[in-house]
Each structure stands twice: as structure tokens, then as C-alpha cells.
Amino acid sequence: MPDLSLLKVNNLKIEFATDRSKILAVDGIDISLKRGKTLGLVGESGCGKSVTALAIMGLLPRHASISGEVFFKERDLLKLKNKDMAKIRGNQISMIFQEPMTSLNPVFNIEYQMAEVFKLHRGKSGKEVRPEIVDLLRTVGIPNPERRMKDFPHQLSGGMRQRVMIAIAMACEPDILIADEPTTALDVTIQAQILELMNELQRVHDTGLLMITHDLGVIAQVAEKVVVMYAGHIMEYSGVKEIFSDPLHPYTRGLLKTIPRISRKTKRLEEIKGTVPHMSNVPPGCRFHDRCSERLARCSKETPPVSQVNGRTVRCWLY
């Protein structure tokens, strides 16, 4: 049966070797992304979301060792030479980051930073692309683009800078857009606008979107499928409706309780007790066991395998 996935990640493992210890940041994950669809990647801080995204982009530092496969259009990106990977980055696969305030280069103006992508991937130069830049900036909702493109990053607000980042990422109409917590640093109204904008661009260009966040509220708005990650493992992987109506994994249930609801505004938000284990010292058994309220006897000794429940993937001894 032909696999319609645009991006297919098989058994991805990422390890950082530091002076004293080894950190197994991602321990064998499988995900796939289809054209025009959105895959949400959720989990608390430090569970390996950004590292996964950077591995797909080929942007991990040299001291990271990566194994597994990342298939994009029949090619394993992990096997590509740096030069060939550079041709894909910013062109067929783009990425936006969590830190809009610092993600643009302070010493170049917006026009330069946008024109660069056209120069690199379309072979177009300087004045030629000016109309396209103006169009793009207008599309992402920047008023007065002719004047604004002469601005330097410090002259724009965080929301505006993130819009510029989106414009840069969408410039070459990529097949895949990876968004690593694109709205976390922005305030709530701007957050909604940015998500709206990304949805719109995705629909127009039929882009596959990998949306990384620790906020299930964002996932509910944009994603079709969700991967719940914890300590380098995938704990649950299923459709967004099922995740919200019938969460299987105790960790997913814990995360769901942390979503603020207007209906219970007085109560303090619940949170999952304890913290994510540090990845240089992974506990034996289920990685979530010391925080799990439904723990069984075997949970602290044996690692639960990945199992299928009604076509959904879950890693827990309860199933």
C-alpha cells in the first residue's frame, strides 16, 4: 500500500554526548505528516520536542548523534550532505521558532533578510524580488509593507517580528512548515491572530504543518493528529478528537487538566505533580511512573511497549 506521507520519521534517536554524561534526548520515535495536514507535538518542557524538529531540519549541533530515518519525498534527510540539505531548508521545509524577539538578525533590515531566501532558492536578486516581498509582508498582515521592509528588527514588536518570520518561512511555499512554539512568547490576542494566519497560509499552499507546543489549547485549534511526548518517548499518538474526548494515557489526561477553561474560572489550574526526569538519568520502567496516579506494580520495573488500541497508539501498561 503506498504511503501518502510527505514526511516519515522512523525510530529517530538523538543523543548528546557531553563531558560527563550522555543525554538520550529522543529515544526511538515514529511520526508521519501528510500534505495539507497538521500534526501536533505536545509535551512538557525538556521532553525532546525541539530536538526532534531540529533533527528533521539537520540543525542539531555537531555533538549530537542521530540515528533512524527521516524520509522526505523518498529521500532520507539524515543521509544528505550538508550542501544538499541547505537546498531543502527554507525552501521545501521551513521552520519558525519560539523566540520572535531574537530570531531575526539585528544588523540587517527586514528586506535584506527576506530577499535572502529568494536569492538562495529562486536565484532572484535585489530589486527583482521587492514586489514579492511587499506582497508577502502584506499577506502576513504587516501594514505599510513598502516602508516597514526598510525597518530593522528592533523597530518591530514581537508579534510583527513573528509575522516576518512566518513570511520568511512561507516565501518559497514550502511543503512542510515546522512551527516550534510559535506563539508561546506572544500575548493572547496576538497568539490567536498568528495561529489564524498560519492556518490560512497552510490551507492556501497545502502545507504540511508540524505544530510543536506545550499548550493543548493550541493543538485543539489547529491539529488533526496529535503526538504526546514524554521524556523522549511517544506516549500517545492519535486523532485530535479522540485525544480530547477519550485520552488513553494517564499523562495525556494530566495534560488535559492543565488547560484553562472559562467555565471554571475560580479554581486554580491543576498541574501534574513532579517534573520531567532528566534525560541523562532515565528511570527504569515507564518513564512517567513516578508521577502517575494509575501506576501498577510492574510500571516501575518494565518499560511498557507501544500498543495499538482501536487504531490508536499508546505506550502504557493499562492497555
Binding site: M57, L59, N82, K83, A86, K87, I88, R89, G90, N91, S94, M95, F97, E99, T102, S103, L104, N105, P106, V107, F108, N109, E116, V117, L120, H121, F152, H154, Q155, M165, I168
Partner: protein
């Protein structure tokens, strides 16, 4: 705009700085024991002759009057007559200035170009043999005294290998038509390739000795500044756009990393001017440094005053240029 106001303010501060410097130097040089009259006439001379000379040089007047006389002439562009040579001070300076300018500019170019190149390579290939050798070089470079380095270079390249001349600006018999007084430039203008080569060979050792300390410092600052910048988010963005690694380094990172490097280069200019005096002495280089050393030796007050005034002026001018360069590099300064 703010930059323009700032520029005016800097210019307005120039005059008080120059006055301050000239007063300090005036006091210092008059505090050195011995005066030009003693040195020129020796002890076996009548008091009458001594008084006559003192009178002629104006040295019989109180210090503040002497300073005022000097200063009121100086602001009209008259720096007086050298006691030693009887030539106008301004001519003495002008005839030696090009030699010093040529030496310091070439030294500065060596320090800046190689300093940045080495520093960037060290950061790019961090924790590799390339990096280690750059660190080693810069540790060595900052701790070598110019005097000693100059002599070692002469010993090795001139005496032992015989590749380069020991001293001076040109070989005997080589002539270059004087236009700017910068021999490299003049030789090129007049199309004398042989003379250019000769001038370059004479310049090589002094320029390298003078450059070493600054070069080593620039390597160090560039390296650490680059390492900071390379971990910035916008560098990751550049890579995510598909920018080729060498362009990430030399465009996206370097322009940011240059901001602290420019500060150091500005500071190094003062060091280079000081170092030029030593270098000119070691290599018998006929520049301002030699002039002022000789002038101090014979207490040639007008020449010392004139040279210091000039150097201070040049220094202030250079600093203003450095500040303008800042504004070019960093838009956050330009638009504040």
C-alpha cells in the same frame, strides 16, 4: 538626528581635550631636569651668553606666560621653531609624518585583517587544532615586548637569512618621487615596481613587530565575540533559511561580532601610536617617534609640544571615525 548631535558634541569636546593634553605635556617636559640652554651650550660658557640664549628662546619668562605664548601662536597654526634645527616645527613634523603614517597604517591593516581572519577561524573550528594554535599564538603575541620581538626578527630575517633589510625605509640609491610621502603609494603612482618592492621589504619587519600585540588581541576578541554570536537564535534562523555555512559565518555572524571588535581596534590605535615610537627606534625608522625621542633628548620644547599636539589631534579624529563605524555596524545605535 541623534547621531548628528552626537557628532557635534564630540567635535566641541575636541578643543578642551587638546588644551588639556598640551598643558600636561608642557608641565611634564619642563619638569625633566636640564634645559635646552644647558644642553646646547654646555657648562663652559659665560653667564651673559646663557642669558642671551634664554632671552631669545623666551625661557626667562614665567611658565604660564611661556605656555600662553605657545598656545596663542598654536591656535593660529604657528607651532614655533625647533631649537635644535632652527626649522619650523610644522615642517619637521610634516617631513616625518608620512613615514609614521605608513608604518602604523600597514601595521593596523595586518592586525585587523589577520586578526579577524584568525579569530573567525578559531571560533568556527572551535576545539580543533586550528583553534588551539590560534589561542597559543594570541597568548604568545600579547606577552612579547616589541623591542625584543623587533631585535629577534632582525636577527633571524636580516642577519641570519639576509632576506630583509635591517633598517630604514629604502635601500641606498633607490629613489621615489615624493607625492604623498607614503613610499608604497608614491612608488605605485609613479609605476616604479622595483622601488615598491624595496619599500615593502623595508616595511615588513617593523610593521609586523608593531602589529603583533594588536593582532593577538584582535584574534582573542574576535574569537570570543564570534563564539557568543554563533549561539544566537538568529544564526539558527539563517541556517534554517538554507544560508550556506560560510555565509552564515562571514555575513550573519561577523557583522554582529564586529561590534566589540571595533572597540578593541579603536583602543589598539593608541597602543599602535605608542608602539610606533619603540619600533621606529629599533628599526631606525625616520618617523615622528624618532623625532620626539630626539627632541626630548635635547629638550627641544617646541618640537615635543608640536608632536604631542598632533598625535592627540589624530587620536581624537580616529576615535570619531571609529564611532561613526559603530553606527554603520549597529542600526540600534543609528536609530536611537
Amino acid at each position: 538626528m541623534a547621531l548628528y548631535k552626537y557628532f557635534i558634541k564630540r567635535l566641541a569636546l575636541t578643543l578642551p581635550t587638546l588644551i588639556g593634553v598640551s598643558i600636561i605635556v608642557f608641565l611634564l617636559i619642563h619638569m625633566i631636569p636640564g634645559d635646552p640652554v644647558d644642553i646646547m651650550l654646555g657648562d663652559r660658557v659665560t653667564d651673559a651668553a646663557r642669558l642671551a640664549l634664554e632671552e631669545r628662546l623666551g625661557l626667562n619668562q614665567p611658565l604660564h606666560i611661556q605656555y600662553w605664548n605657545w598656545f596663542s601662536n598654536a591656535i593660529r597654526g604657528d607651532f614655533g621653531i625647533s631649537i635644535r634645527s632652527n626649522q619650523p616645527v610644522i615642517e619637521e613634523i610634516m617631513s616625518r609624518l608620512p613615514a609614521t603614517v605608513e608604518l602604523t597604517v600597514v601595521a593596523l591593516l595586518i592586525a585587523v585583517i589577520f586578526g579577524i581572519l584568525f579569530g573567525v577561524s578559531a571560533a568556527r573550528y572551535r576545539n580543533t587544532p586550528i583553534d588551539y594554535s590560534m589561542i597559543g599564538f594570541s597568548l604568545l603575541g600579547v606577552s612579547i615586548p616589541i623591542f625584543w620581538l623587533g631585535m629577534m626578527l632582525i636577527f633571524f630575517f636580516s642577519v641570519m637569512l639576509g632576506w630583509l633589510p635591517v633598517s630604514g625605509r629604502l635601500a641606498m640609491g633607490t629613489a621615489i618621487p615624493q607625492v604623498t610621502g607614503l613610499y608604497l603609494v608614491d612608488a605605485l603612482i609613479s609605476g616604479k615596481i622595483g622601488a615598491f618592492w624595496d619599500a615593502l621589504k623595508h616595511l615588513a619587519l617593523p610593521a609586523f613587530s608593531l602589529a603583533t600585540v594588536s593582532l593577538a588581541l584582535i584574534v582573542r576578541v574576535t574569537r570570543s565575540s564570534m563564539l557568543d554570536i554563533l549561539s544566537e537564535d538568529y544564526i539558527r534562523t539563517a541556517r534554517a533559511k538554507g544560508v550556506h555555512e560560510s555565509k552564515v559565518i562571514y555575513t550573519h555572524a561577523l557583522k554582529n561580532a564586529m561590534i566589540p571588535v571595533v572597540t578593541v581596534i579603536g583602543l589598539q590605535l593608541a597602543k599602535l601610536m605608542g608602539g610606533a615610537i619603540l619600533t621606529e627606534t629599533v628599526f631606525s625608522w625616520p618617523g615622528i617617534g624618532r623625532l620626539i625621542i630626539t627632541a626630548i633628548g635635547v629638550r627641544d620644547y617646541p618640537v615635543v609640544q608640536g608632536v604631542v599636539f598632533f598625535v592627540a589631534f589624530a587620536f581624537i579624529a580616529i576615535n570619531i571615525v571609529v564611532d561613526l563605524f559603530y553606527a554603520y555596524l549597529d542600526p540600534r545605535i543609528r536609530y536611537d
